[in-house]
Symmetry: C2
Subunit: 417 residues, 2 copies
Amino acid sequence: MNAAILSIGSELMEGRIADTNAAFLSERLTLLGFRVERHTAVGDRREDVLAELRACAPRFDAVIVTGGIGPTPDDPTREVFARFLGVELVENALAAEDLRALFARRGGIVPPASNAIQACLPAGAELIRNPVGTAAGFSCRAGRCLFFSLPGVPAEMKEMYRLSVEPALRRMSDRVILVRSLQTFGMPESLIGERLCEMMTEGHEPAVATQAREGVITVRITATDTAEAPCRARLEAAEASVRERLGDCVYGVEGDSLADVVVARLKARGLTLAVAESCTGGNLSAQLTDIPGVSAVLIESAVVYSNAAKVRRLGVAPSLLEAFGAVSAEVARAMAVGMRLSSGADLALSATGIAGPGGATPEKPVGLAHIALAWAGGVVAEEARSFGAFRWQIKDRAAKRTLNLLRLHLERGDPHG
Amino acid sequence: MNAAILSIGSELMEGRIADTNAAFLSERLTLLGFRVERHTAVGDRREDVLAELRACAPRFDAVIVTGGIGPTPDDPTREVFARFLGVELVENALAAEDLRALFARRGGIVPPASNAIQACLPAGAELIRNPVGTAAGFSCRAGRCLFFSLPGVPAEMKEMYRLSVEPALRRMSDRVILVRSLQTFGMPESLIGERLCEMMTEGHEPAVATQAREGVITVRITATDTAEAPCRARLEAAEASVRERLGDCVYGVEGDSLADVVVARLKARGLTLAVAESCTGGNLSAQLTDIPGVSAVLIESAVVYSNAAKVRRLGVAPSLLEAFGAVSAEVARAMAVGMRLSSGADLALSATGIAGPGGATPEKPVGLAHIALAWAGGVVAEEARSFGAFRWQIKDRAAKRTLNLLRLHLERGDPHG
């Protein structure tokens, strides 16, 4: 089955926002087994929208339309659909009730007259309720094509897609599709490709694919079948096989970040952490503090950008800095040990390196970092090389390498923490 | 004049990436006075690409095509253009030379045979040189429409657009268009709208528009004229008027971040900075350390997440924490003063607040922060409320508020630094 995405909004034509809705929907549809063949975006002009609906109807099994269902007169979608289908716009009682309830929750006021249009649908269309905002969505059929009209606001669109559109799309197919994503860090995508080579060949069932995003490689396993039980069994067998081939570079599932996993493991074991950063410049702390509830785990961190701060805050010996330079395994170790002792945390991480573009030498290129972990049982350092076109990328990768050092340590389960 | 964007790549159809190229190009074309009427994206299938070229040629004055000019057989764009134009693909001597030179720079090797196709253009097309990568671009005319074919890799596309496409588009128009962007922080978009009300009415020349992005409001002034000198004069007059109406919330121009401006001002005056963060959790340091050369300015920073760390690292009195709580003006001041004294920096910033979702009380809601600045001449604290759906947004806004406190202090030019 094939599908298309149609996005409506002059903000897209003026480049004020990128069309992330089309990417989200395409990924979801592809996972459901649809072949997405086309994205189109047009502005608010009614004749442009109408021409697109007419072009799509004979060509696609499913078309998802986003945008153009706001309360203002320049929102064209509802009206153009009615014209396209040759029907009137009529108020949908349930949509009108949802609208009144939403305004009541937002402060007990009656919906302004301008919003009333948002409860109107083309006659015969099926309501797609909006649990988040004021714009009701709808679905309708034209020939072979099932159209879905959703708001352009990503939070509303995604929720309505999840609750109403995806179940309807699944019903269009007689197949069960189950997906599992494994998050990995530390093994290059090319090596993952080699290890999973035969599972990644075209036609292999379940299908296995990789995707790289900011240093994290996601392995996605998609199983399809006519019945749920065998489908799940094959998905689980494939997951076990992928885990066995990739070993401990698999750190989580679905949307897990390295910081999520590290914070959860520390919490589960009642351990505390402190961080001493140089080249990562606060990014390592920022990744950790993105996790709600991290304050139960993170005692403190220090961005010791200058050598003076490394000496004063962490007790790094000036002789070490002089003998090995700030970017060295010796100084990384001393930073971690110094931070652990002075903070009283169970574990301490450190990172020192060259974020660039200045400060590099032939021996110490941009992207080089030394990272270390100190715990009650000892201290370990590692050399990490990170690549990226921008400082923030190099900082981000070095921070992830440091979090990964801690993750692997926690997985090995040292009795000293 | 009207225009369209055509993006080619199966990674778009599978939702693996969002089409940010279309947004970038639409913004630039709109600024040049083109009306962008349509974006289309299709996969690698040759018949889909050909159908799009045929549909666009009679309808648009300019079409920018991105993607599909890589070295592999599934890259369709070059070949489909040749078919569309009814010509052969021929090697372009200058493109072949660029390709050899690029490979030589990358390690002295001869380009693999697969890359040779990247120096081929449809006969009669004009080369668009690629100073960054291996894919040569080209432009060609079909009827009223001027087509430009560029790589899909954003860094290559943008550089080729800037060097070759934008000058060609400017030549298509007899009008001069000049743009000035002013970056502001601290004044709500609605108040900016009121202050600039008459300049923002439709048809006002120069045109003035605002755009909000992660707490920064950009005011964009666009002047158009048939000659350069009067155009520039009107742009400058409008800029002066906007600056007068908005006062010191204007912090920079074009792509300036708050951290850019703060670091540049500190450098220019030879001042050093230290940072004590709690709720911002490293984000404030990370924004500063995104700026190359910040190490000349930033001595250190401390993420004092626990009360114990606030006491130990910064000398905050436990009685203050007990009496006012960690999220208070008193503690923010003590953090800034303590950091300034212990680091030896000329100035110190602090932020303490509630990033959420937990930890809030009716008096201290999620998003509340107290921020402070200490310098030789004293210490000042400010209450800041930040809004956002995610922790990272609240952290980001609070960090920007803190940078802005320092920026305004530096602009006032206290003789003590």
